[in-house]
Symmetry: C2
Subunit: 381 residues, 2 copies
């Protein structure tokens, strides 16, 4: 158990202090102790989102957060441009359609980032577009889109720009206010470094105007209720006490480290992984690799699903495979959560051993040397 | 910290083993280890719900579960009879209205259980009623409704009978199949003895028919997706790993104890609390006291909110006050979760001391003797 390594793109390894906090005796959410924690967390979430706007918490998975972010600002019939570059883009577009959106899918080849020009053209030809929505990082392909450029374009139009940053927020810069992002959603089990169970959303001032007026049906996910409760120092529904308590630790830690340095630490893990891929003779799948997760191509002819299961069973290394059209073809390694240099090095070792078991000619000793040298030459930030 | 007692009607005190499980290292939900846990939990939930039907899990608070239970079987325009006997009845009726239901509120005085005759009459006069919904226990007033009788009546009509059993399921008998309940929702932080963050729902066979056909908008809360995923041994959205892992422990424990004996253990806590109320010269608020939570009337003229805060600050005893029209007038003591005889006795002691601080003439020594005698004469089951 203690020997196992979890490097999925969520859920992530927990900081030992988070594990300790999760095991604390329960307290009620209507107590002075919890009041203090909630106040602290709501303030510090703004630092994480890099916004002056309120950040709201919900008990749900990331998909619940995606639904909430969308339905609070959409009217049935709204023209919506959905950037679809993988499984989660598909899910969000399906959602928008389900709730009555007039959905236009901008399909992007898996592993590629969306063409900014294509979005610009669409908005020129469709000035009545109400919403543009995209993943910051499409988790299924480990691909990042250029959110800064997209936001710059969309913010010049009446359309709202909604970003699913579930596998991105807290992992690399997405300064909401500075870039003029209108809606941003994060998930607890990713760069927020907690277990699954909460989502976090924030809206720009112009998005809030639509929140107040839009006609969509919403009760559990009605952010107006939650915001009103937060102003009174409460959550509207029962508070997720253990996660919010642990969140206070995580956010305090990120503030102490400084968000830029925190981002650099994750970036270093990505850089290590890209270097490691070379030592292991594995190609990078994405043409626009995300800093939060890396997809490595499984060597041609190898059964990636079998490799993944082998790594899990023999080496206690949990990484993710591909989904849908990428099933068996890639391995995805997350860079979020509690990851030490020892975890990085051991991941390389276990991956190398697994590949050798699958008849790939690798010099294990040399790979390990290369890993050690990299970690020495690029010390922790 | 270790001296504090939490006896709210949720969240509840956690079993020490649950606390330990919550602090375990994260595992991914797509691993053989988690597959085994999920399978076990989905099976054992049926034992808790006393049903042969599938029981589905969602990452949400109880209110999210109430929304899900409702919208998966309601069509806009459906005639719905909502039994409203407190804050949560009001919330559910508001929800039904929000999602387009033709809502008829059967208002019941707070603290009273609904008249079965009134429901019978309504159904006679409104044979087109599609849904009847009620709390099993209205948490805000600690009042139980006669679910068995209500189910017997509603099941003879085409209407579906939905029961919010968030402060009831796992605390006292609500055999879903035997009583012919069509929909049942439970929450993690109540008699399921976990932190807040999950809800559990189940439908009768005739309710499932409507799930398949009803026209309501639903994505995150679409139980068809979750049920299909469960059949493949997965959850549709990211699994709430720590809570599901702890749930396996809780359900295994209840099975080992036996659900009837488990219910008796909770019943004994209620009986103790009713006896204690006498020793403390406090009246019971509800005319139909629930076995999951007891509401005690604050002595006339005393500020209940101040008393509650005093108990919290001076004696580290968390109990709940009243809400809305009952604010300051009652104290609510929960009987769910991990509660030892020592907790019961110390609760009596702290309550007595608090009341004495508020100038109530009580003989502390005598009260403690009475408590000890009760616990001795009624040993744990």
């Amino acid at each position: 158990m203690s020997n196992s390594i979890l490097l999925a793109p969520g859920p992530v390894q927990l900081h030992p202090e988070v594990q300790k906090i999760l095991s604390m005796p329960m307290i009620h959410h209507r107590t002075p102790e919890f009041d203090g924690i909630l106040k602290s967390v709501l303030q510090k979430l703004k630092y994480l989102f890099q916004t002056e706007q309120p950040v709201l918490m919900q008990s749900s998975t990331g998909s619940g957060g995606m639904e909430s972010l969308l339905i609070n600002v959409m009217n049935p019939g709204d023209k919506i441009l959905c950037i679809v570059s993988g499984k989660f883009g598909e899910r969000w577009a399906d959602m928008a359609e389900h709730f009555g959106g007039n959905v236009h899918r901008l399909n992007v080849s898996w592993g590629e980032s969306v063409s900014v020009d294509a979005v610009t053209d669409f908005l020129k030809n469709n000035p009545d577009t109400a919403i543009v929505m995209t993943q910051a990082c499409e988790t299924s392909t480990a691909t990042a889109h250029d959110i800064q450029k997209l936001a710059a374009i969309v913010s010049q139009t009446p359309a709202l720009f909604l970003v699913d940053a579930i596998t991105a927020l807290g992992a690399y810069p997405l300064p909401m206010d500075e870039w003029k992002i209108d809606g941003l959603v994060a998930g607890s089990q990713k760069a927020v470094m907690l277990p699954t169970g909460m989502s976090f959303i924030s809206y720009s001032a112009r998005a809030w105007k639509k929140v107040e007026t839009c006609k969509s049906q919403r009760f559990y996910f009605d952010v107006r209720k939650e915001f009103a409760a937060n102003k009174k120092g409460e959550t509207y529904f029962s508070s997720n006490v253990p996660l919010i308590r642990a969140l206070d630790f995580v956010l305090t830690r990120i503030q102490e480290i400084g968000i830029d340095r925190h981002f650099q630490q994750l970036h270093r893990r990505q850089q290590y992984t890209l270097a490691m891929a070379k030592y292991l003779q594995l190609e990078i799948y994405s043409k626009s690799p995300s800093r939060s997760v890396t997809a490595l191509k499984v060597p041609v002819g190898m059964d990636g699903t079998a490799l993944r299961e082998h790594l899990e069973k023999k080496y206690e290394l949990t990484v993710m495979g591909g989904q849908d059209q990428l099933k068996g073809l890639i391995l995805r390694l997350g860079h979020m959560g509690y990851i030490t240099d020892q975890h990085l090095h051991q991941t390389t070792e276990r991956l190398a051993k697994g590949l050798i078991d699958f008849k790939i000619a690798l010099n294990l000793e040399k790979v390990l040397q290369q890993s050690e040298i990299w970690l020495k030459e690029n010390p922790p930030l």
